[in-house]
């Protein structure tokens, strides 16, 4: 269910793992209250750094997506925040689809579109500065 992160994307691995977990929750592969794989078995299975897995889990807990229960493991939050997040993502999807469709109609290739988004996001990551 969880795939190996791709280091050559230039995106931190822990973020990729977080995205995968969130995606799994959105699609229902992981349900609220369900247990996630342990840090050690997951690191072993994906052959990745256990510290990175731990970091991803910590960030997910910080965002309220999962709960870390001491001694028992990591569990998907039953909180409505998760659902809201999942819903927000679901709602955003058609917005993005429409934008992409419009840009394609203007003759932009997918690669160009991707770069525009990334440049924009890079700008936004630093305190919302608009380019």
């Amino acid at each position: 269910m969880l795939f190996r992160p791709n280091p050559s994307l230039g995106v931190p691995i822990y973020l990729q793992l977080m995205e995968q977990v969130k995606h799994a929750i959105e699609t229902g592969a992981l349900r609220p209250g369900e247990q996630l794989p342990g840090i050690r078995p997951l690191a072993e299975e994906l052959v990745m750094n256990p510290n990175t897995v731990a970091k991803a889990y910590r960030e997910l807990e910080h965002e309220g997506v999962i709960e870390l229960r001491h001694g028992a493991g990591a569990f998907v939050s039953a909180q409505p925040r998760t659902k809201k997040l999942a819903e927000a993502v679901r709602d955003a999807q058609p917005v993005v689809a429409a934008t992409v469709k419009r840009l394609r109609a203007r003759g932009l290739t997918d690669e160009e579109i991707r770069r525009l988004f990334e440049a924009e996001l890079a700008g936004m990551r630093r305190g919302g500065r608009r380019g």
């Binding site: 931190p12 050690r40 990745m48 750094n49 256990p50 510290n51 990334e118």
Partner: protein, 295 residues
Amino acid sequence: MAESLIIETTDLHKSYDGVEALRGLTLGVPTGSIYGFLGRNGAGKTTTIKVLLGMARPSSGQARVFGLDVDNPEIRRRTGFVSEEKDLYDFMTVDEMIRFTAPFFPRWRADLEQRYLRKFELPSNRKIKALSRGTRTKLALLLALCRGAELLILDEPTSGLDPAMAEEVLQALVAHVAGEETTVFFSSHQIAEVDQIADHVAIIDRGCAVVTGALDDLRERYQRIQLVFDGDAPQGGFRAPGVVRLRRKGRMLTIMSSGGTEEIVEEASAMHPLSVEVVPVTLKEIFLETVTGEE
């Protein structure tokens, strides 16, 4: 962020017969990390490891492991080592080699010994000189992992191994680190494997550390800025700090930055480019740009 550093070098110099192998190497390995030490062949990776383990004496500068000076033999009681050549005693059998090594370490883990013997499928009675490189590597790894060591120092652990076996080795390392409180310091010139399992990295070039830091941090900080101009790309440098490399080709100017992208983009805007793109950068690109030649 005060992290305890299990390995720390400060301005380390080492010369062999008048040739400087290390020229002021400074790095710090946080306890509990998996630290990748990347560099081209001959950059000084093996020399650094030899200094850390007391096999070679530093010419100047400081190096400490566990807070102890590197000529303290106590370091070797708490460290597991695998050499680049994986060289062991050819005339001994696998079993004899294990029986030889175990008594030196009071914290030897017989449980791990059994587990790895099975997992690596090591033939107990075969002489080491008859083993394939892959099997020898696994044996060397077993000897390092079973010591109950707090630190593992590995010199190119997967060199000469086919991808499947390399993956097995990485997996064993990762599993070991997850289960035991161990720090791993490994050198490599395989960027992919450092990418995969390391959380900190140092890139060494011609005896100096040119890049050090947490891998996630580096992935966020390093970026490529691509500028396209109407005419030829303008000459001249950038005042903003963080420019690692500038490349001009016709109408394109590409800048690799290690941070402070905003300032660079501002300076670039003053040159009136047709387009400005900021693109994330992979470890491989960081490596290639920081170790190859000058411009």
